[in-house]
């Protein structure tokens, strides 16, 4: 067995509602250790602990059998670990060479720090030839596409001296040929004797380059297997784990007429050929991995992005939704994923935050009847169990109550189509239950709901139909009774195409 580079023993870490518990994991030299788990299962947090960005509450970390004791965060400690994140961190005004060798510039004169550009460009050219990259040394980073920039990030891992490399979902945004390039680079990094943690959702990655695979679920490790003797079905089984769907308060409503149908929706190169239908009383679940375009689809339907192609029909009439205002006027509501940046007015109190989408209702010759407004808001927030003080600033409330206030806002606007993007992520259970039950009230009264979530249990337990997004399109759209959690994982990881 090759030598051990890193070992974590009984690491625990608590972050708000989430905790990593008793993590035991190790990494050997010359090894690609694949980490899998659904969104929010704690993969990235674990990697932050390994890279030293986060100090665990308890447990021990050993690098080459030597315990690492960290009291403070200091960059010196990360020499051995390089962490390539999903988002690209490049200086767009500089050339590729300058970006790649930013930490190890060749100097003509060490004292004056004058850069030896000839040597820099030569080093970079060697690297490009070595890896056979489709770029030139002198290209500035701003002229490159996202995927190319990502590939350059991987090159940084290649040229660094770190013995532990962490790649966080490197393949999710890449096309097939770019993926092949990624695999080539990763194999070269491995050949240097480096150990690699490779986070992915794609089962194909595991079988092509993985040596071992570890599955994480809800902050603890389900198991570690050697890829060679672990069939894919077993990995899927580990990913789906224990599964409960009966605790969601589902009601079944007789479906009414069609209120929204989407035909051949395209958006630049990110979404293609999307067809959806929504009836009165329907909850359509949409799931897929992070980055599969769920949020983008929601924005397309709400008119929040420009350049949407395809046809959208409301109640059978074709309509072009080119702005959120038009969407709201036509009875479409969107609860975005990120409530802090996209939903709340941090400077306003609760009553104004709730009433802001229905001010017309309270206006009397362009004057707002505040007494009436407050009466109606009080009625709403009482029913949703939001603590009763209309004039508190919205930011003083807990996440659950903020989210319920956002819900109240759209329910008050009497929309007919509700697009909910991760409405329950990160909420306490009581708020989740309030939200499920208010969704029930919506569908009882003939509204239609599009429910976007990465929690597959929730989708299966609460929706009527489920659509899975993968590879920029909708890969399945079927009634809940015909689908299983394993099937959804297979669809979203691109195994059935």
């Amino acid at each position: 067995m090759s030598s051990e580079l890193l070992r974590l023993e009984n690491v625990n870490f608590q972050l708000d509602n989430f905790h990593l518990s008793n993590i035991n994991i190790d990494l050997h030299a010359n090894e690609i250790h694949v980490i899998m788990g659904e969104n929010g299962s704690g993969k990235s947090l674990l990697m932050q602990i390994i890279s030293g960005l986060v100090i665990p509450d308890s447990g021990a970390i050993y690098i080459r059998n030597e315990q690492v004791r960290k009291k403070t965060l200091s960059p010196d400690m990360f020499d051995d670990v390089i962490y390539i994140r999903q988002d690209v961190t490049m200086l767009t005004q500089l050339s590729i060479a300058e970006n790649l060798f930013f930490n190890k510039m060749p100097y003509k004169n060490k004292l004056f720090r004058s850069i030896d550009y000839d040597k820099l460009n030569y080093m970079c050219q060697c690297l490009i030839e070595d890896l056979d990259l489709p770029v030139s040394v002198f290209d500035r980073v701003e002229t490159l596409g996202f995927a190319q920039r990502q590939i350059l990030e991987f090159c940084r891992a290649y040229i660094s001296d770190a013995s532990i490399v962490i790649l966080d979902e490197p393949s999710s945004a890449l096309t097939q040929s770019e993926r092949d390039l990624l695999y080539r680079i990763v194999k070269k990094i491995k050949a240097k004797g480096t150990g690699i943690f490779y986070i992915t959702h794609c089962l194909e990655d595991v079988s092509l380059i993985g040596d071992r695979v570890t599955v994480i679920k809800n902050g603890s490790i389900v198991g570690t297997r050697s890829v060679a003797d672990c069939p894919q079905e077993e990995i899927i089984k580990m990913l789906s784990g224990r599964y409960i769907k009966t605790r969601y308060p589902k009601i079944v409503i007789k479906k009414g007429k069609n209120i929204l149908s989407v035909r051949n929706l395209h958006f630049s190169d990110k979404l293609k050929n999307i067809n959806l239908d929504l009836n009165e009383g329907d909850i359509l679940g949409i799931t897929g991995l992070a980055g599969s375009g769920r949020t983008l689809l929601a924005n397309c339907l709400f008119g929040a992005v420009d350049g949407v192609e395809g046809e959208i029909f409301l109640n059978g009439t074709p309509i072009k939704i080119d702005s959120p205002n038009k969407a709201i006027c036509n009875g479409i509501a969107l609860i975005p994923e990120n409530r802090l940046t996209d939903s709340l007015f941090a400077c306003l109190d609760v009553s104004n935050n709730v009433a802001v989408s229905s001010l017309k209702r309270f206006a009397n010759f362009s004057l707002i009847n505040t007494t009436y407004l407050e009466q109606v808001v009080a009625d709403y927030i009482e029913k949703l169990n939001i603590p009763h003080n209309l004039h508190n600033n919205i930011m003083e409330y807990t996440g659950g109550n903020q989210q319920k206030a956002i819900f109240a806002k759209w329910i008050m606007s009497r929309a007919k189509i509700f697009i909910l993007d991760e409405p329950t992520r990160g909420l306490d259970i009581a708020s989740k239950i309030d939200i499920y039950n208010s969704i029930n009230d919506l569908i009882k009264k003939k509204a239609g709901v599009i429910f976007i979530s990465s929690d597959i249990e929730e989708i299966l337990g609460f929706c009527d139909r489920v659509a899975v997004l993968a590879n920029r399109t909708c890969v399945c759209n079927m009634p809940i009774k015909d689908i299983t959690i394993e099937k959804i994982i297979e669809f979203s990881t691109g195994q059935e195409q």
Binding site: I244, T246, R247, Y248, P249, K250, I251, V252, I253, R361, Y372, Q375, V376, A378, D379, Y380, E382, K383, L384, N385, A408, I411, M412, R414, D428, I429, A430, K432, I433, D434, N437, S438, N440, D441, L442, K444, K445, K446, A447
Partner: protein, 257 residues
């Protein structure tokens, strides 16, 4: 002004004047006509009034000012909300049992609009509701009559001839410690027997009665598949029941059509 207060005012007005227009109520209460129509619709469903073009008249069949004079309005609204959830949890063609209780009675009033139900009950008032509904079948248990419901060994023997899709029991207490409790021993034993014959068991209880306990225990909380209550339920119970994998319906009534 809360919906509850509005409804009270509308009721008082109607009892006095026998008829009212939407416009008049709207200006009187300083709310939009849409809201008034919603209130009137609710009251019509309760059987309090009949809606007419542009207004409403007091329901002529009504002898007393209100059907459920024994409970005050606040309870009534909560029970109506719960009964609406019950209505949506029952599908056409189901074989259900409704045990005696005021919320189940309200649910029965709604369930008569379903098709092809088979309803088993021990409550005379519930049976009466279904008597005028030819599209559904009602089976009334026999047994010892206590107030308006039957219990006892006779009722239990009677009941054992049936198998149920869905049992809906109304109880007087739900608590973490004592489980599900009711006010009489004969009711407790009837429910215990009924639970043995049902695929799905729903427990109906007002949020106020969570944490309170009645004297006679039916069983632990885990016998319930679904618990139906109203939206004022405390957060601790929501957490607790979700962890027990019980579907919890809080009958939020918030969306205005």
């Amino acid at each position: 002004m809360f919906a509850i207060e509005r409804i009270k005012i509308i009721k008082d007005y109607l009892t006095k004047d026998k008829h009212v227009s939407v416009a008049k109520l709207s200006s009187l209460l300083n709310v939009t006509e849409v809201t008034i129509r919603r209130d009137l619709e609710k009251l019509e469903n309760d059987g309090f009034l009949k809606r007419t073009h542009g207004g409403a008249v007091l329901n002529a069949d009504l002898e007393e000012p209100f059907v459920f004079e024994e409970t005050d309005d606040d309870y009534n609204v909560q029970m109506m909300e719960i009964s609406d959830t019950i209505f949506h949890l029952v599908s056409d063609n189901d074989i259900i049992m409704l045990t005696d209780g005021p919320t189940n009675l309200r649910a029965a009033k709604k369930l008569v609009h379903k098709k092809n139900l088979t309803v088993l009950t021990n409550d005379l008032k519930i049976a009466l509701e279904f008597s005028a509904s030819p599209s559904n079948k009602l089976i009334l248990l026999g047994g010892d009559l206590d107030e308006s419901a039957v219990y006892g060994q006779l009722a239990i023997n009677n009941m054992q001839n049936f198998s149920l899709n869905h049992l809906i029991v109304e109880v007087e207490g739900v608590s973490k410690k004592t489980g599900i409790t009711v006010s009489s021993i004969s009711k407790a034993s009837l429910i215990q027997e009924a639970c043995k014959m049902a695929e799905t068991i729903s427990v109906v209880c007002l949020a106020e009665h969570f944490g309170a306990k009645s004297f006679y225990r039916v069983g632990g909380l885990e016998i319930a598949d679904k618990i139906i209550t109203n939206s004022t339920l405390s957060d601790t119970y929501k957490d607790y029941l979700f962890d027990l994998n019980i579907q919890l319906y809080t009958s939020v009534n918030i969306y205005e059509e």
